[in-house]
Subunit: 142 residues, 4 copies
């Protein structure tokens, strides 16, 4: 299925810095994951999480991520990043970030990340907390 | 004199990424200079320069920069960056960037940079080109 | 199978910078991919590629990458990164990078990347060039 | 006076990453300040400071920095960074970092940074602590 912005409840915009480009004259591959990280953090905030990560309760850990590079962005441009939960299992959930080039009006990259609930009190992975499941359902409207 | 945004003809806004903070829980000192770089590049564009830096004509080289850190920014926030030329000598000019925290409505850092005209054809520093002087005068309205 | 350094013909070492840590007090997830990029570039050099990417011949493009985060590294430490080709198809090959923490003597992350041969002369993807196949075989000793 | 490595008691080496270069095909201006930061942190460690910055005692704050760019570094290369205290006042001290290109055997940049002692208990700047003065004297051998 074609990824379009209307599939995403959370949409963020980030300007491309000239310094985001590497010596191949394209936005460096890491920068897309910086944008995905920022959109992911925004998603956590919408879920009501404390993103100062200073609590001793249960917080999110990045377990894995991937990124498919489709179209090389360049300066100047603005990245439009949509984030949504695409899968939930017993002990983690997966956020997909679609990164669009505003200037070229096309998708530039798709990233997927697994988020693991971790108890900083017990120092171990835990099951998906009920409040997380409820907030995700609220955000995604399902 | 107090630096206020109305002193600047070129003003840019950059969102603070969560990942811009280092383990001291403040925006890392390098990030302010990324913002200053982006505002400087925007200034070059307003001067009519080719910021792909692919020409063989005369281009700008960063000779020196400084940054005074006044107030530590944190995520979430937006940096508002004003850029202006504050000094011109025979063989360089100085851009000042004032970086404001939008959330705290106060100045966070002041950076100054020396820009040296360099001839990529002759591979040497050259005098300030007349078109540069004219464009700076046009931007600054003086 | 357990990943150990003796599986890798190309091994690089990168010091952890204090500034590589984010406000969660761990090396930020992007930094592992910077190390993987540097090891990948080293692999390209061993294959005899021109890593200035200035030629008009066939060069490598990063099509996709993933990273599994196993153990959170911190400053001070040194990353030991092994790189090897783990799969070759008709139009791409896959490099695996295993990232070890020298201080803790254990694996911290595993990254995998797909590398696509791209003709800058014809501006399109091409089949795996024979010299690439030969050089990979030479490196991997197979 | 010409800066040479023998003037420095603390000398660190950092490899240039390919990704440290920007689209002007030089190591980006920020990267020199990353190296200076890492060398500065190493200097703090030699002074016996807790660089996790988690204590409630007196810690160092970066008040200002400058960098003079002399020679543009490129990948591949190794930065050799010497750090030393060049000035002490009542309420701060100044570290100078000289950055040399190992490949070209010449100085590439000189950075200077002001370090301000800050009491996290009293939340205010304080005078240079006696242990800091003693440790600096011990390091510099003066």
């Amino acid at each position: 299925m074609k990824l379009t912005l209307d599939l995403f409840k959370i949409i963020e915009k980030y300007p491309v810095h000239w310094g985001d480009m590497d010596s191949a004259n394209h936005v460096n591959n890491l920068v897309y994951l910086r944008w995905a990280e920022s959109a992911r953090i925004k998603y956590f905030e919408k879920m009501g999480m404390d993103t100062s990560f200073s609590s001793v309760g249960t917080g999110p850990i990045l377990g894995w991520q991937e990124c498919k590079y489709i179209f090389p962005m360049t300066y100047p441009d603005t990245a439009i990043v949509g984030a949504r939960t695409v899968e939930i299992t017993e002990d983690r959930f997966f956020i997909e970030c679609a990164i669009f080039s505003e200037r070229h009006n096309r998708i530039a990259a798709i990233s997927k990340q697994s988020i693991i609930p971790y108890s900083y009190g017990e120092l171990k992975k835990v099951e998906m907390p009920d409040p997380w499941l409820e907030e995700i359902a609220k955000i995604e409207g399902s």
